[in-house]
Subunit: 388 residues, 4 copies
């Protein structure tokens, strides 16, 4: 059995992957949202579900909130609820895509009243951050247009800068703004932050505490994502990851499910660029469990990240460098693939047990009866979803 060195285990010990509260609610496509018994009906139940993931893996100590989906009367109370369950509240995600006013934009809208409204929403998010102790305000913008000519691309970019600046200036000490980019959807002709270059240009114009968020599903077909990881780390602007995977568009599948080798390459660049366990670089999931169980899907996801991190840590960097310098393409590739093909699962299971965790978290959770219990208890009310 492959063994993992104490050095590697020490790095894995510190690994933390934030869970999105909305992964525990219902999600779907424009065609249908399927519901499941036991789906949480409020933020408290979402956090309870998230805590199960952490309890079985020790990998997911924080939960990201989405405002307004996770609005509660008392964030203090929600924070204590989380702490009681062994987790903490994390990144605050804003939402400017579910109000009729935002049909043609929010932070970029032609109308100053609507921009103001969208900015105020972010001010509310900053207030929530103070209450929850969150560091990061993550902004993903659904803004764009569907038809050529519909929108003034340049004017929107300038207005985006102004709006972001106003929000950035509102941040407290130690708080950050993280700007996500996305290739397309829900806008189909242009998106106001479509690529890492635009996000980088926008956050660079704000200041040191503005960073780029890289969602692994938000690129054009064929994009070399690990190259962007390398570049953003090099430029000091990689603020966070939204992990998931995809075959076609922003499929939001379980991270590592569509192309495990890509995940390996991304994590290798994270490690080489000093991004693993670095405070600047937040690891998060952003997935939709449309057809699979949600808690199990999240456990599977954090395990996938952990396993691929372990593999990436196994790369013999000295041998790799030697092969690269010698121009031995096949030897360099062999060293790289050797780590990828190494089965680290038995070693991780053993190590997990040594820490008092279940060797097989998926099975342990399945046998815990949690799903049956919540399906029975969570009757009545409205299941959480993406509704405003």
């Amino acid at each position: 059995m492959t063994t993992l060195s104490p050095d590697i285990l020490a790095k894995l010990e510190r690994q933390a992957i934030e869970l999105p509260s909305w992964a525990f609610g219902n999600s779907g496509t424009r065609f249908k949202v399927f519901s499941t018994p036991g789906t949480p009906r409020d933020p408290y139940e979402k956090i309870a579900d998230a805590a199960q993931v952490h309890a079985h893996t020790a990998l997911a100590p924080t939960v990201a909130l989405h405002i307004p989906w996770d609005r509660v009367d008392s964030y203090d109370d929600l924070r204590r609820h989380a702490e009681d369950l062994g987790v903490a509240l994390g990144t605050i995600n804003s939402n400017t895509f579910q109000d009729d006013d935002y049909k043609f934009g929010a932070l970029t809208h032609e109308d100053p009243r609507i921009r103001r409204k969208a900015i105020d929403h972010h001010f509310e998010c900053v207030d929530v951050m103070h209450a929850t102790g969150s560091r990061d305000l993550k902004i993903w913008l659904a803004e764009g247009s569907n038809y050529p000519g519909q929108a003034d691309l340049r004017g929107r970019q300038d207005r985006l800068h102004e709006s972001l600046k106003t929000i950035y200036d509102r941040l407290g000490d130690g708080q950050r703004l993280v700007l996500e980019y996305k290739f397309f959807e829900p806008a189909f002709y242009h998106t106001d932050v479509p690529d890492w270059g635009t996000s980088y240009a926008q956050v660079s114009a704000l200041g040191d505490r503005a960073m780029v968020c890289l969602d692994t599903g938000h690129h054009a077909p064929g994009t070399n994502i690990e190259f962007i990881v390398m570049q953003l780390l090099r430029l000091g602007k990689l603020g966070s990851f939204d992990f998931n995977s995809r075959f076609y568009a922003d499929d939001d599948l379980i991270v590592g499910a569509a192309d495990p080798f890509q995940l390996f390459r991304i994590l290798f660049e994270v490690i080489r660029g000093g991004g693993l366990n670095h405070p600047d670089v937040a690891f998060m999931l952003d997935q939709c469990h449309n057809v699979e169980d949600k808690i199990r899907g999240q456990i599977r996801s954090v395990l996938n990240v952990q396993e691929m991190t372990a593999r990436a840590l196994l790369v013999d960097r000295d041998a790799l460098t030697a092969a690269q310098r010698g121009g031995d393409v096949l030897e360099a590739n062999r060293v790289f693939m050797d780590a990828f093909h190494t089965d680290v699962r038995p070693a991780l299971a053993e190590w997990r047990e040594s820490r008092g965790l279940p060797a097989d978290p998926m099975t342990a959770f399945a046998e815990s009866g949690y799903l049956a219990r919540t399906a029975e208890e969570r009757v009545g009310g409205t299941q959480a979803g993406w509704g405003a």
Copy 2:
């Protein structure tokens, strides 16, 4: 001003483009469905809206229905309603994607009970066809899987054949089954009818009255769609078009909006292959007007198809053939582009007027006051959308 020959005008005179009833209801993305005042609340109001398109353009004499969205107590009554408004009922579209039972498939499901249910739904559609006098049953399948290993690709294909055979055998004389294919969405790993080859193989196994439906938004990036048009016409299996346009995925934008030259090329192949005004080849729209007015969007769409058809009819086929035979790439391209770049709009406006139609249907409709009137009248009730 470019004039259109009597021969071309005679062909345009016969052009008919079917409208989808659902284009007049609300649609959107998984993130948000925006609503508009005046949106129809039932099939009767949808047909009234569709009739406006025909009244202003003489291009859209029929309306396709979607079951169950357009279920009514009396299809006879709905048919008379349509006829009173100057249109007829057209293709019947089935729906096997909005029932919890269909989470893992319908016609392909592992469970015979669910396959039976899906087949019975199609039997209901055939019954509707008898009542409405519709010729075509169009089947688009949302079926597929999200994760490798989730589904037995081969078994599903075999079950699909059996289910389709059962449905096909139920068709009455003169009725047809038209099978649509789609590259991806809502399934993200595999789709059971992902490409024209699969649709062709499946309908070929059924018989002469089973045909392929080509939706212009359902292909992989870069696919040469006019080639497929040519091939299906050559094989005698092009049953219908779902026209729309796209930049990225199945964006369902207005036909001709994203790449007008592609629409031109498609129509040129339709014409050359004998598909224009041929009874076998139904022209339909399948679009989503998420952010624009719906009736105006449909008027714009049928005009786009008409204008591009006129341009494609202008191609000097003799000159083109001569250039192709002579290997003169640039001359062949010039002949082709010359037709595309010719502005046929003034000639079409004049011709329209000569037929008692408004020269500018978009403006005429805007000035008709219909939108304001329906917005005022259609208060209360539930706006139509994609809901089951």
Copy 3:
């Protein structure tokens, strides 16, 4: 260590992957072809190199030839040369893309003289097949056009049928025609056989001994290749594979290098569809070693196929079927991924040794001194490449 069952080993024992003679010559991009010392200068030297791959792996018993690149005075002599080295001659590949006459097509050309010339070239290939004892004539067509309007898509398709029919009728007993498809390149607007559907329609019109060749690099971005494998096996028309891998276009990289999980999924469908070790389905490589050593690249390639075949054979089919039937998406995916993540390399190394083969073929070949020896011996002459 994972052990491989006798049943799995028996299947692996029979696995045979044909090597392309041209993989041992120089190749490159339109920008540059790099040369290497020791590159073969004639078909005899190419076969000698190919024999090294088989000697170290027992996986590559045959070598495909490309006409005219591999024209020799006596194919009998070449055959004996191969047999002396422990390999046999395999598929014959035709070439209709390197003659000035073929600028605008070969089998599809408007000019009957040029079609005749291209057909005659295939007759020559059939003659070679008789001399070499080859079963398969593989046809990849570079034909297409670069500009809309340049070519008559439909006429070309009809002429293609006629040309293929003439060639098919020339085949001897037990000989097959295998028609490859390709999404694009070298033609940039349309390709005459762009997708599996077209190849399938064309070979179906010929007869039972005409089959489809699936090159894993010849699809649109995002295409689910294993679905096509499943479908062609289901339709009884999968004749052969050209294995390689890609990130963007037809990159012709080492199979399994770009997306090992995709290779796993493809091989799983081959196995489930009965295509492994089935006489109808030929496994071949078609790669370009532009920057890496060629013989080592080929050894790496056949090992990659073998390792992924072993993993795909490890899938617990009963457990998978049970999970699929139960609609347990995550369990089905777990069973599938478990096989993929299992490290079969130690077991294969052990088994290899038990058959008198080197445990590590890459190292054994490197230490054999073959490369240094041939670099010294093969001085003068012209290195083989893609030149006509």
Copy 4:
């Protein structure tokens, strides 16, 4: 007939599109380079051909050179030759992709000796610029890797910066460095400058006289290129265009041939962003006429750019802004498309004649007998191509 206003004509009057010398030599794909009678054999003949384009269109006053392809004994002499023919020498393009030393990189290579060699090559280019009076040094890098693990992505990026800095510092007053980016090819796994973000980050680190070059064929499928145009103009970093068009990869087809509407949208953003006739933004072609006549292909290309510029200038900006502000998607799109669909060709022909130019440059050139004359004269020697 649509008339073009004096204001629009004044803008068109100033339009200048640089031609690449290499467009007049042979080019092709990795499969085949077709040759044509009359192809230039040296830089003098290429410039003579380029001068024909300008003589017939008044649109192409300068010719870009490529070193070493256009090395001559006396650049002074070449400059006089150009001036005698009515054109000037323009941008100097470097070449670091056709030397065996550059197999694994040039400006990014691990070996300082090879980096030095590549830098020295650029110093030579700067020397040429002094001799030719060229302002711009354009750098396109073929550098990258084919296999994951082959290269140290980060180290290469850092070395790239150092190399570019050394070259940048060598520039004379008024000279600029323009850095092109490209999605892929000839490298298939990673490219060192794959996107505008990387080019922007690299040139920003150099200084004010370093700019980004946008080649319209160098993006991922589906990329919104006009958005990048807008962004680079906004950031003050758009240095030049390489115009061409594509369906799949870097097809290098005639600009406007694959998607004329995209060209329109790009030119509209150029105009709105102040980039038309702005000294910072150089318009160039970079195309390959693999199957069509080269001089005619270049004439077609500059006319396409001119025609689309005229259309883009026709957009009623006030009406567009009003519709955008009012959220009238269909009206905004109508205003935009109205300009695109307007046939400006007759007005341009008339205006051309008024300036003493042929109304139809394509026909005028064809009738000039130039092609027949050069085919007769240019016998012997070696036809120019991409050879080192």
